[in-house]
Amino acid sequence: MSKMEIIHNLIEDIPVLFVSGKIDAVTSKDLETALIGLIDQNKKFLIINMEKVEFLSSSGLRVLMASLNKLKHRDGDLLLAALQPFVKDVFFLTGASRFFSIYPNQGEAINSLQAQSR
């Protein structure tokens, strides 16, 4: 069984999901549950720290895009931070990078959201 772990954090009132492991057909369901849970709580802005994500298949990509779409319809956003090269390649190879705000680290993602809210 693939291993993936999700840690929920609230940093400066912004929900941050710290995801680690492989996001494939099996584990993407857990990610979907976590994201839907936050969206259902009317969270408009979410950050996913992907520093420890080793692999992302299209199942995971689909979950991320579906969540982003929902948030965008509520004038929110899903920010991605600290992507490893191979995971970043998935976004650029498929062209999904044009939909997402991608930051080199979690701090810059948080700063960007704070700057928007000012």
Binding site: M1, S2, K3, K22, D24, A25, V26, T27, F55, S57, S58, S59, L61, R62, M65, A66, L68, N69, K70, F86, V90, L93, T94, G95, A96, F99
Partner: protein
Amino acid sequence: MPRKPTNLIYGVDDEPPLTTTLLLGFQHIFILSIAFIFPVVIVTEIGGSPEDAQNLICMAMLATGLSTALQAFNKGPVGSGYLCPLVNGPAFVPASLLAGKAGGLALIFGMTIVAGIFEALFSQVVGRMRKFFPPEVTGTVVLMVGVEVIPIAVPKFFGVDGAHPGVAALPFLVALITLAVTAGFNVWGKGKMRLYSLLIGMVAGYAVSFATGILTIDKARLIIDSAFFQLPEIGKFGMSFSAVMLVPFLVAAFSSALKTMGDLTTCQKINDADWRRIEMRSIGRGMLACAAGNITSGLLGALGQSVSSSNIGLSIATGATSRRIGYAAGGILMLLAFFPKLAAIFVIMPTPVMGASLVFAVCFMIMAGIQIIMSRMIDSRKTFVVGLSIIFGLSFDIVPGLYAGVDPMLQPLLSSSLALATICAVVLNVFFRMGISQKMEFEIDPAVDTSDRIFQIMEKQGGTWGARREVIFNAIAAMNELLDASPFLGLLEKKIALSVQFDEFNLDVRAVYEGMPFDIPTAMPCIDSMHDAEASALALSAFTMSRYVDRMSFSTKDGKTELLMHFEH
């Protein structure tokens, strides 16, 4: 045409301005001139006169100048096309000593021609020997090319010699200042400052040497006392041959050829941002240039020559690899043979300055070797090839005299850490290749298996094959997309048979499953459809899969679909 790496200021095909080219050529000659010590060593050992040594240095300038320029040619049958200067190198010192003691300088020169002819023949077959030189072998050779210079560089850096067995404070200080200035300009200098970092460091080293008395007025007088212009005496000592000397010289030529391979591999890598594997054609042409250099050496009356690893280190450090610099360095060297006054500037180079320059260049050679080794996936077979070769190679320097009892004919094979490590790497690579199948088959069960199983199998096999990491990752990702798509293809109750075939240029995956082919979208599915897995998951999987492969196709037979995925390696 290869893509120029961003860290290069002047790539191999670039044309720097004339003044810059000449200055960079001079900078290379400073490093090359360190090897002028070898003719002096040989002549002293066989009881020759200082005039004989001077003649040998003069001929070395002519012969290596010609071959350095020849090596840079990228048109015609001779020359690798790279800036890869040649020196009267250490590879030929043991064989030359044997010949010199048996038959004087004439025998050295005659046998050097024989070595050159052997190298020329070897250059014609080396192209068919690629499988003997995978990246873990060539990387180890490049690494050891740098390591081999350490026993020469470090004593000079610390001022240690026969008369001073301990660290000498003043020479050490001069070496430290030279290295600090060179490294400082290399790391923090911009543009020209980085280009000339070694030249600046050496000028500082000469100045400090003069100020501290290491470079004495007496030594400096050599410049004044030398003639401004003098015609070199070509072929003064004649030549002779001996069958007894055949083995040591052929072994020296073979070691030199392998060193050429390692050095030219580094040249290929540093000049191509997308470097993947050794390109044998330019290696063969480069070896032929070395062979021509050795035949010229023998005819003129100089020692055997091989490529200078330290100069490649300098090219990496300064970011200047233009072949024009090779023409310049070669041309200047040949001219210096006619102008002894100018040549004397290099001859009087203070020992600590030599040490610091070599230490500086070695750093870059070692890193180049490590990068080549790590460009492929490493398993336990490759760990042994690399590890054992380095261990036994280093044993030559760490345990002096360990191989002293070996038959003199075989001594050249064991004459340096580089020769030992190279032979170990080539032999161990052949040995550990036994039992490696180029094809592998396995099954995945979409109801049970996850990405982990594909990762485990493919990473292990990728290591066994020594495949490029990124190609194996693309294959893993594409196979995973098939796994992701399987519920939407009705494969949850069925198995997918996979077979993977590898050679140095191709990785082919064949997947067979009971069911129909699927459409490959040419664009990403709409983001608005992503919330509905049934509507978007198969299309997104297929589209993502198509982005990882270089080519894919379907065929169907008896209700089974065969999906072929091709990856360039």
